[in-house]
């Protein structure tokens, strides 16, 4: 009989755990909607992101902040997409950047084609938490 009493509790726990593991989707127009982290970064943060169309090519600038007292390694690459959401061009190589302690590092990239209208900044760091962002 005690097992029946524990069923609602188990359901409630299951629901809670489900809520905890599913974060709401990022707000459109926010940095999180444009940045893909391969597991959450412990120290580095993308603090500023802006895009500009120059000479018909999308130009993106991102600011990476390291609020920690140690130098931190970052690897990044861009994913370029057209209006239909299809990826344009081949997959880029990972680019390494060393962000010094308390430094704000700016990275810029230019789209490979004028068809590009959207992008994702994919970032990873050896100091990632290993958990989903």
């Amino acid at each position: 009989m005690p097992s029946f009493k524990s069923i609602p509790l188990a359901i409630a726990l299951l629901l809670l755990s489900a809520c905890a593991s599913h974060k709401p989707p990022p707000r459109p127009g926010s940095i999180n909607a444009k940045v893909e982290q391969l597991s959450e970064m412990s120290y580095l943060q993308v603090t500023d992101l802006r895009a500009l169309k120059r000479n018909h090519l999308l130009t993106v600038q991102a600011e990476i902040n390291n609020p920690d007292s140690d130098n931190r390694q970052l690897y990044y690459r861009f994913k370029w997409m057209d209006t239909n959401g299809f990826v344009v061009g081949n997959e880029e190589a990972w680019k390494p950047v060393l962000v010094y302690a308390y430094q704000k590092q700016t990275i810029t990239a230019v789209a490979p084609s004028p068809q590009v209208t959207d992008f994702r900044l994919v970032v990873q760091s050896p100091d990632n938490t290993g958990q989903l962002p």
């Binding site: 707000r27 127009g29 926010s30 940095i31 909607a33 444009k34 603090t47 992101l49 802006r50 895009a51 500009l52 169309k53 120059r54 000479n55 018909h56 090519l57 999308l58 130009t59 209006t83 810029t108 990239a109 230019v110 490979p112 084609s113 004028p114 209208t117």
Partner: protein, 267 residues
């Protein structure tokens, strides 16, 4: 009462029919262009002749010997040189047989008008191409209630190469911009129902690395210009005639971002 209602319905139907039957003819885009030229003509003729002769005579015997020699040389030369230079300039009038196909297409899509075919203007070198009333009177637009008369204001080709900042590549942009003025004229009253200037723009952008050479696609650029001009014309006609119902379902450019516009993503 019933008769009145019937008459009212008939008049409504007739009105609807008349509204549906509004026919529009789209002229080719008239243009005037100043043609200037310069010529420099040099005419040079040179005729020369030279003639020479020489004779030697020698005589030798037991008692005496003698020798004589004679030579002559004459040369004649004649040169004619003419140099003329001048510049000339004239205004060429005509109609551009391009860019109106998509205007007709977009007007048809809007559903406000039926499109009839206009007779092309074929007379050469005359300012009469702008005399639209005379052309209407001469019957150049058979069956049309309205004539959309367009004139070219500016046609501008640009070929630019710009370095892409932060890379060793260049952006090669070949673009064409066409600005034309339009008047929508009633063929019976000559009332101008709408007047505006419309723009058509097209470009072919290639990313090149140093040393490589690209040939821009002029066809793609002209096609884009024609499409965007058609969309702009249909939109402005719709706006000025009060409907404003025109919606372009398929924008050709597809890009929501404008050149030079900065998007700042929030935290």
């Amino acid at each position: 009462m019933k008769l009145l209602r019937l008459l009212f319905l008939v008049s409504l139907l007739l009105g609807a029919f008349a509204a549906q039957a509004a026919k529009i003819a789209v002229t080719d885009l008239a243009y005037a262009e100043r043609v200037s030229g310069y010529f420099h003509l040099v005419d040079y003729h040179n005729k020369s002749s030279a003639r020479g002769s020489q004779s030697d005579r020698e005589r030798d015997s037991f008692e005496s010997s003698s020798a004589s020699s004679r030579s002559s040389y004459s040369e004649n030369s004649k040169t004619d040189y003419t140099e003329v230079e001048s510049s000339y300039s004239y205004i060429e009038y005509g109609e551009l047989r391009k860019f109106v196909g998509d205007i007709k297409g977009e007007i048809l899509r809007s559903g406000d008008f039926q499109v009839t075919q206009a007779k092309p203007y074929t007379a050469k070198g005359s300012e009469k191409v702008y005399d639209i009333i005379s052309r209407i009177k001469k019957g150049a637009y058979p069956g049309a209630d309205y004539v959309l008369f367009g004139t070219v204001s500016e046609l501008d080709f640009r070929d630019e190469v710009n370095p892409i900042i932060g890379t060793d590549t260049l952006s090669n942009t070949f673009s064409l911009m066409l600005v034309a003025e339009f008047s929508l004229i009633n063929t019976r009253t000559y009332e101008v129902k709408a007047a505006f200037s419309a723009t058509g723009e097209g470009q072919d952008v290639r990313v090149v690395t140093g040393g490589s050479r690209v040939v821009p696609s002029r066809g793609k650029v002209v096609s884009e210009v024609s499409k965007s001009l058609g969309i702009d014309v249909a939109r402005q006609i719709s706006e000025q005639l009060g409907g404003g119902s025109y919606r372009n379902a398929d924008p050709s450019t597809g890009s929501s971002m404008q050149e030079g516009e900065v998007i700042h993503f929030s935290q």
